[in-house]
Amino acid sequence: MAETSTWRTKVGLAEMLRGGVIMDVTTTEQAKIAEDAGAVAVMALERVPADIRKEGGVARMADLRIIEEIMEAVTIPVMAKARIGHFAEAQVLEAIGVDFIDESEVLTPADEKFHIDKHAFKVPFVCGCTDLAEALRRIGEGAAMIRTKGEAGSGNIVEATRHMRAVQTAIKHLTGLREDELMTEAKNMGAPYDLVREVAQTGKLPVPNFAAGGIATPADAALMMQLGAESVFVGSGIFKSEDPPARAKAIVHATTYYEDPVEVANATRGLKGAAMQGLDVRSMADEERLATRGW
């Protein structure tokens, strides 16, 4: 009679999260601050990306106790991260009932060749991308939501901007091609032909496209929304700032009214403390860049 976990219910949840802010949290207190500020979902983690970056070592799926406590503490959806290619971590996250899994480059990859077959799961997945071809490969594997990789934990928006523009420009390019050019284009891109064709016809990704990686201020959120993001993920940007509750609220405010500069100004005015300390991405060695993980 009823069919559970269909593709439409997976993409449907991603659609319900539109126009919102998804916040990284590491404790139940932070999860409640996020919920009170108006977050549409939280990402339950052991360490935010800025700390993962600082502390080094292998970053794995979070301690399940942390995730389960956060699931108990809030009524909004709870997401959690699995390592790229680590389908057993993903199976565990599905078993405890998380609402969304992020197969994330922020954690240390478990497989240097293959991503998870996400169609095999009942729980929806979100994956990062740096361009359209990568987005379509992940959707081909079953991702129900795409986000830019940006440069997580950097507090620097430049990479997220690059990735969002790359996706939008490539979509526009595809819509201008003739039908007989699409197969060669798909081959050159390294993306599934059917999805290339769908994007060429519709002019948009088949799943919601969110922004992530480096968002630290209300204006950062407004920038990403105006560039075509449908929601924003804020990782270290909130709980590495001086006044997390005010910053969380301000970023929600700016995301809701992103097209109105007066409202973004009002949101920014409400901030009391400084934003997180940022990193200059240009001075980073390649192996320090998280966005290069995943293929």
Binding site: M1, A2, E3, T4, S5, T6, R8, T9, K10, G12, L13, E15, M16, L17, R18, G19, G20, E35, D36, G38, A39, V40, A41, T75, I76, P77, E94, G97, V98, D99, F100, K122, V123, P124, V252, H253, T256, Y257
Partner: protein, 193 residues
């Protein structure tokens, strides 16, 4: 003259609602997120999304007043999923902010977490053939006040998932995510009444 239907665009699947409503003839659906925009509408949709987020934003930006005014003027308002929760007077085990316009008690995430989200066919009072319905982390209506004039229009496994009270309509599922426009047409017919 087209009827102007506002879709509250603070957060949620407002885009899908706007596209679905615009497929119906004689309708101009548009996103609304200010008092002025809401005041121009003949009817309003509160979409699916996160009910705590939508409620908080409505309160924070003072949109509850123009919406209450619409309801008092007899203009139709339809809440889907999160929208239904925001319309309800009672929410089981929750003190979250709400409009509280309908005399119903809703229970959030009543069918389980995301992995329990589902699709099914529903018999709807007043509509001939079954309607395909998508439920995502869906609520249901545990109780309605019949004396207050709440009419139950559909149930799934004895749980109320569609009901109407005068000019207010609430659905636990998402007609905007399917290609069937009969629920939209039903809602739009409420403008004429």
């Amino acid at each position: 003259m087209s009827k102007i239907v506002g879709v509250l665009a603070l957060q949620g699947d407002f885009k899908e609602h706007i596209e679905a409503l615009n497929e119906v003839e004689g309708v101009e659906a548009r996103p609304v997120k200010t008092k002025e925009q809401i005041a121009q509408c003949d009817a309003l949709v509160i979409p699916g999304g996160e009910s705590t987020t939508i409620g908080k934003l409505m309160e924070r930006f003072g949109l509850d007043e123009p919406i209450r005014e619409m309801a008092a003027q007899g203009k139709p308002i339809w809440g889907t999923c999160a929208g239904m929760i925001v319309l309800a007077k009672e929410i089981v085990e929750s003190d979250q902010w709400r409009l509280g316009l309908m005399d119903i008690t809703v229970e959030r995430n009543a069918f389980g977490r995301q992995v329990d989200s589902f699709e099914t066919d529903l018999d709807v009072k007043g509509i001939d053939e079954p309607v395909h319905a998508i439920f995502i982390r869906a609520p249901y209506v545990r109780e309605v006040c019949e004396e207050c004039g709440v009419d139950v229009l559909a149930t799934f496994e004895d749980k109320i998932v569609l009901c109407r009270q005068g000019n207010l309509l609430a659905s636990a599922f998402h007609p905007e995510l399917t290609d069937d426009r009969r629920i939209q047409e039903y809602f739009l017919s409420m403008i004429e009444e």
